[in-house]
Amino acid sequence: MSSTGDPRTQTAAPKEGFRLSMLLYDQRYRSITIQIVFLFALMLGIAWLVDNTINNLRALGKDFSFAFLNTPAGYDINQRPIEYNSQMTHGRAALVGLLNTAILAVMACALATVLGVVAGVLRLSKNWIVARLMSVYVELFRNIPTLVWIIIFGAIMTESMPAPSAFRGDTPSANMLFNDSVAITNRGVYIPSIQFANDLGTLPLGVVAPSLNWILLLAALIAGVFANKAILKHATAVQNATGIRPKTWWKSLAVLVGPIIVLFVAFGAFLEYPELGGFNFADGTHLRNSLIAMWLGLGIYTGAFVAEIVRSGILAISKGQSEAAFALGLQPGKTMRLVILPQALRVIVPPLISQYLNITKNTSLGLAVGYMDLRSTLGGITINQTGRELEGMLLMMLVYLVVSLGISGAMNIYNNRIMLKER
């Protein structure tokens, strides 16, 4: 059979010229056509938006300028991680706000992780009461909006704690805790702060000037962690070669804690206790109500979500793994720590990233309790005092975007490291 009329043998496309209608009816071109049309519509939409914005700004007699960032802010900020006063610029105030956002985010992420892991593991406990208690915690916090929790914690702090004046007098109605070192008042919690008798001064970096003492301590801590890693690696190598693992705990302790203790002694570190002076407690570190309410609100609320993530991660590990571990004679605690959790991590980490991002973004609720984060400084008072809504909001969006992408990127690197290695 050599019939060319047989449709089964006609595999080549008909040699036709390109027609305009093929853009719509030919599958090869249709998707491209749709995409190009859509792109044009999108660009038109954006152009209209920009044009509309420009026209409206002109109608209001406003220009588009970020010059306001260099003008004096004029307002004070209570929680100042870096030096700031009302004569400094709006840009500086925004930076203070950003640092406050970062402080809160780190504190809340830490609290949420600790609470979440504990609650997630305990919810799987065979102890009925413990498991049910954790269920109550998860369901209670997960199902009430975080803003409500923040306000509740703020109200508890302001309404039910004693005023600083209650600590005064010969027979005060309130007492400081822990050997007169911690005062819980309705204006926040005052804790001792670490001070150095030999102050090395600050490291001038232009915008910020961190204390040299703390930089050295941080460097010692990081160096200690790396040294400890090397020690453990060496121990593993010895164990692999000889079958006996050398005792390392005292070496680890020495490299982790030793340098820090030496530095503390060298710097003449001492604790500065909060003391009543004037209207308030002076000295010490002041953890304001706003910070505590935000920290507890965000940390405990998100902890409930983390607990569920941890629980799902553990349940994702097949039962055979724990049975195998038990067969080897591992106790339940060790089974969890050495067998289950390391495998569960790769299920846990990706959703954990989004919880960390949630916390970071939810710090912008700080305005509700007067926490001076980026939203309250740049996105709140600065916008209000300068009238630069568009610029301020765009800048704030950009900063949150960069911070979130940064966290996401860092966590993805961690995720890649703990991911199941396929060889």
Binding site: N52, N56, G74, E159, N280, E389
Partner: protein, 338 residues
């Protein structure tokens, strides 16, 4: 692709609200309702009563404008604004006028794109403390915790006052007056600072007002007045001259009781021009000739409004002070109706 669409939609919804018409008068008349921005609740100035009807000194200005423009003092929809949202609400066209104890400053007038229509209350920033503290002067407040509404001029004055006098303080930023009141009463701050009138109004709503003292220092000038969007001069004129009509009415002895009789015509040409029985001042504003009669009938003249909302006979108990007519030693001085 999907992402970009999302961004586009978000941006669109954010900016659509920004379109503001220039012809506010027509917009208000076609809506049949004046949208007026007020505070979130400050007794005596603007707060809803037991029936949910907004009452107060600032509210009365809104009602007078609504009466002048629409003929019905109740045709007002009130929008609560905080210190932070008020100017955005005005600029975006959400409200037609702002009557919310707002201080007239150069930057707000020029840079924020507002036009202030006059001053209805001459105020100054003061401090309130609990008498238990035994503080007699603001100069003794070093180290105090101060509750302050964010996004206000008082916030800036406070920073300046403490800095210039070399004193320390701990600001507790707060969004609304009600929240500040709660924090202050709970003792979370030693001092509450805002305009002296606001302090008096807040104190009046305390369970035991006598326990709280307003310190003698007034640290700033706070001329409060209604504001409109910049760029609509006709609307600004209407609000400005409605306020002037209330002030002039008090000076000329026109009250809500005698206005009907006076509107028929009097010997005083100024009253006749104000009330429209002579000349056509209303027409110049784009309104009819009875506009001022309706504005004054709404809640009375300036003095009557003051007396019934924040005056000495009310729980707020403010004296006229600077807010008396210029003939009585105050600062109120309406330009002539001519």
């Amino acid at each position: 692709m999907k992402k970009t669409v999302l961004y586009g939609t978000l941006a669109a919804s954010a900016l659509l609200a920004g379109a503001a018409g220039a012809q506010t008068l027509e917009a208000v008349q076609s809506n049949g309702e004046l949208s007026c921005g007020v505070s979130t609740g400050l007794a005596g100035f603007s707060a809803p009563d037991a029936n949910g009807v907004w009452q107060g000194f600032d509210v009365a200005v809104c009602r007078a404008v609504a009466a002048a423009v629409l003929g019905d003092p109740m045709a007002v929809s009130f929008v609560s604004t905080t210190g932070q949202t008020r100017f955005s609400a005005l600029a975006s066209g959400e409200i037609d006028m702002l009557s919310r104890n707002t201080t007239w400053t150069l930057s707000r007038d020029v840079d924020l794109g507002n036009t202030f229509a006059g001053i209805n209350y001459y105020d100054g920033q003061g401090f309130m403390v609990n008498r238990e503290l035994g503080v007699g002067s603001a100069m003794e407040l070093s180290g105090a915790t101060v509750c302050i509404q964010t996004g206000t001029t008082t916030e800036l004055n406070l920073a300046d006052f403490f800095r210039v006098n070399g004193m320390e303080y701990e600001p507790v930023p707060i969004e609304t007056n009600a929240e500040a009141q709660q924090q202050y009463l709970a003792g979370a701050c030693d001092v509450y600072t805002t305009d002296a009138s606001g302090l008096a109004a807040t104190r009046a709503s305390f369970p035991e007002p006598g326990n709280h003292a307003i310190l003698p220092e007034i640290i700033s000038k706070e001329p409060l007045g209604p504001a409109v969007r910049q760029g609509d001069d006709q609307w600004a004129d209407i609000v400005r001259w409605t306020l002037n009509a209330l002030i002039a009415a008090e000076e000329l002895g026109v009250t809500s009781a005698n206005i009907e009789e006076l509107a028929a015509g009097t010997d005083n040409p100024e009253i006749n021009r104000l009330l429209g029985s002579e000349g056509d001042l209303g027409g110049m504003l784009g309104l009819d000739s009875d506009w001022a009669v309706r504005a004054i009938s709404a809640a009375g003249n300036y003095g009557e409004i003051f007396a019934s909302t924040i005056g000495e006979q009310t729980p707020i108990g403010l004296a006229r002070g600077l807010n008396a007519q210029w003939t009585q030693g105050g600062l109120l001085y309406a330009p002539p109706f001519r």
